[in-house]
């Protein structure tokens, strides 16, 4: 691997700014890696070498004149194929949006453009972001850089694979039921699902308007912080961001922070590798000075059920016009899941939606002054693509829910959650651990992640052969 590709987002941004590396050099290095690895990983749906190199040359020229556009000047990135850019394709992993060219640019991409990033192309995703594994009947599956027979996780499948394979430094993903955190876990990278309302979703493809979050996948917590600093904050185009606090990463000493260890649910049915990683992470955080305390959370089964009801109904509502006119253009599993949203009554949906406030209040009361909850992301490292190809049969929904069972608390209660690489399985597959924060406590999670990554090297390991 080239030395440039091995750097983190923070390191490459500093190198370009200091003119130790040019944006063109960096872009060429990544394009070469993409050309080598795309046939195996299927991480990109489109690559734009000419556009990226032209943008990189312009970035270098601007910098030569002494003007940096922003904190990420000249840094190549790529995003899940659901963030609209005016005049560019955004096909959302689907047949239904094949050829779709939006007329407006998503706020998050516009803000990253302002920060100086350049785009290499668009990344693979589960069809309409409605799948946790990275399967896609239209595009074929994205493949895990650690073992191409394994899933990447989804729905931000290309984001996970491309960052892990060092094809890009960072990517945007979306997270409605784990779609940032599952790829981070399965691919061995860092991912942040921000607090609901912290990051604008304007002109990004919706799945569930109550549960959707937009956030970064990158190599380190520091890198995620750099992306968040660029994209977070109020946006007139997304009313849920009104009054969100400004992003700030003021560090707090770990000795001031307390982390809750759940006494149930999140510690059940873990395989031995995940259980050992969970215990080791607790020990590391304790050694760093954080206070680790047991916590009894409210009934997570009810929260998972409520989240599934809200997700199913809102997704089906958004897709209703196509379900009426073009149902045959969905993949079988996505069609089946969208049809599931027809089962709920309006009263059931609204009770599940209205309960979010009381459920959040109960959660906060249960954790007291605790700053974060530590939890596994999934009960195992990446399973195989074949074993998780569950199709659209009667058991598919339960199989999907098994993969996402530790995910839904953060989505339903709108909480931030950071996944950091924390260990490896006996088969050398990465294992992540999530830290679930308080509302708008994203910075505390970043501080915890940075401290953990100062002490450990899991985030520095690269997939074999790369």
């Amino acid at each position: 691997m080239s030395e440039l590709a091995a750097l983190t987002l923070a390191e490459i941004a500093a190198a370009i700014r200091a003119r130790k590396a040019s944006s063109v050099e960096v872009t060429q290095a990544l394009l070469a890696r993409i050309a080598s690895w795309q046939p195996e990983l299927n991480a990109f749906v489109r690559v734009d070498p000419e556009g990226a190199l032209a943008a990189a040359a312009a970035a270098d020229a601007t910098l030569a004149n002494g003007a940096a556009k922003g904190a990420l000047h000249g840094v190549p990135v790529a995003h899940k194929d659901m963030f609209y850019v005016a005049g560019k394709l955004a096909e959302c992993g689907s047949k239904l949006r094949k050829g779709f060219v939006p007329s407006a640019t998503s706020t998050v991409v516009a803000r990253l453009d302002q920060a100086g990033t350049i785009r290499l192309g668009a990344l693979h995703m589960s069809e309409f972001a409605y799948g946790p594994t990275g399967h896609n009947v239209h595009l074929g599956p994205a493949r895990n850089p650690w073992d191409p027979t394994r899933i990447t996780g989804g729905s931000s499948s290309g984001s996970g694979a491309a960052v892990a394979a060092r094809l890009i430094y960072a990517a945007l993903g979306s997270d409605t039921g784990g779609s940032i955190r599952l790829p981070a876990h399965f691919c061995g990278i860092t991912g942040l699902k921000p607090t609901s309302g912290r990051v604008s979703r304007a002109n990004a493809m919706p799945l569930s308007f109550s549960l959707d979050s937009v956030g970064p996948l990158a190599r380190t917590a520091e890198d995620c912080s750099l992306i968040l600093a660029a994209i977070a904050g109020p946006d007139p185009l997304d009313a849920t961001t009104a009054d969100a606090p400004a992003w700030g990463t003021t560090a707090r000493p770990l000795s001031d922070l307390s982390i809750g260890i759940p006494s149930a649910f999140y510690i059940e049915d873990l395989d031995a590798d995940v259980a050992a990683t969970f215990d080791n992470t607790i020990a590391t955080l304790r050694a760093l000075g954080a206070k680790l305390v047991p916590v009894t959370l409210p009934d997570q089964t009810a929260i998972n059920a409520a989240a599934l009801i809200v997700l199913a109904v809102e997704a089906t509502s958004a897709h209703a016009p196509w379900l009426r006119t073009r149902p045959g253009d969905y993949g079988p599993q996505v069609l089946a899941r969208l049809q599931n949203g027809l089962a709920y009554s309006a009263v059931e949906y609204l009770e599940a939606l209205r309960w979010r406030g009381p459920a959040l209040a109960t959660h906060l009361a249960s954790i007291g002054t605790i700053d974060a909850i530590i939890a596994p992301v999934a009960n195992s490292a990446a399973p195989t693509i074949e074993a998780t190809d569950v199709g659209a049969g009667a058991g598919a929904e339960l199989a999907i829910q098994k993969i996402t069972r530790f995910m839904r608390l953060a989505n339903y209660l709108g909480l931030p959650s950071l996944v950091v690489p924390a260990g490896y399985s006996s088969g050398n597959l990465p294992i992540g651990i999530q830290l679930i924060g308080r509302p708008f406590g994203d910075e505390i999670l970043i501080a915890l992640g940075e401290a953990f990554q100062t002490e450990t090297n899991h985030h520095r390991r690269t997939p074999p052969r790369m």
Binding site: P327, P358, P439
Partner: protein, 66 residues
């Protein structure tokens, strides 16, 4: 709230939504969603009369700077 979901119920809602759904699919949907509906029904959650969806955002923002 009942935890039981029947294919007839699914078919009625699909018809009301003007979304085509064949009989086999209605039966599959009923089986797929029954666990979530049953679990939420069993939780018998308590929601105050005055609570609306936006109450959630108010509670989240009240925790800022805790």
């Amino acid at each position: 709230m009942s935890g039981e979901v029947t294919s007839e119920r699914v078919a009625v809602i699909a018809t009301a939504a003007r979304i085509p759904l064949d009989t086999d699919s209605s039966a599959r949907v009923a089986r797929a969603v029954t666990p979530a509906i049953a679990q939420f029904a069993a939780a018998d959650v308590s929601i105050d009369f005055e609570v609306e969806p936006s109450t959630f955002a108010a509670i989240a923002r009240a925790d800022i700077g805790r």
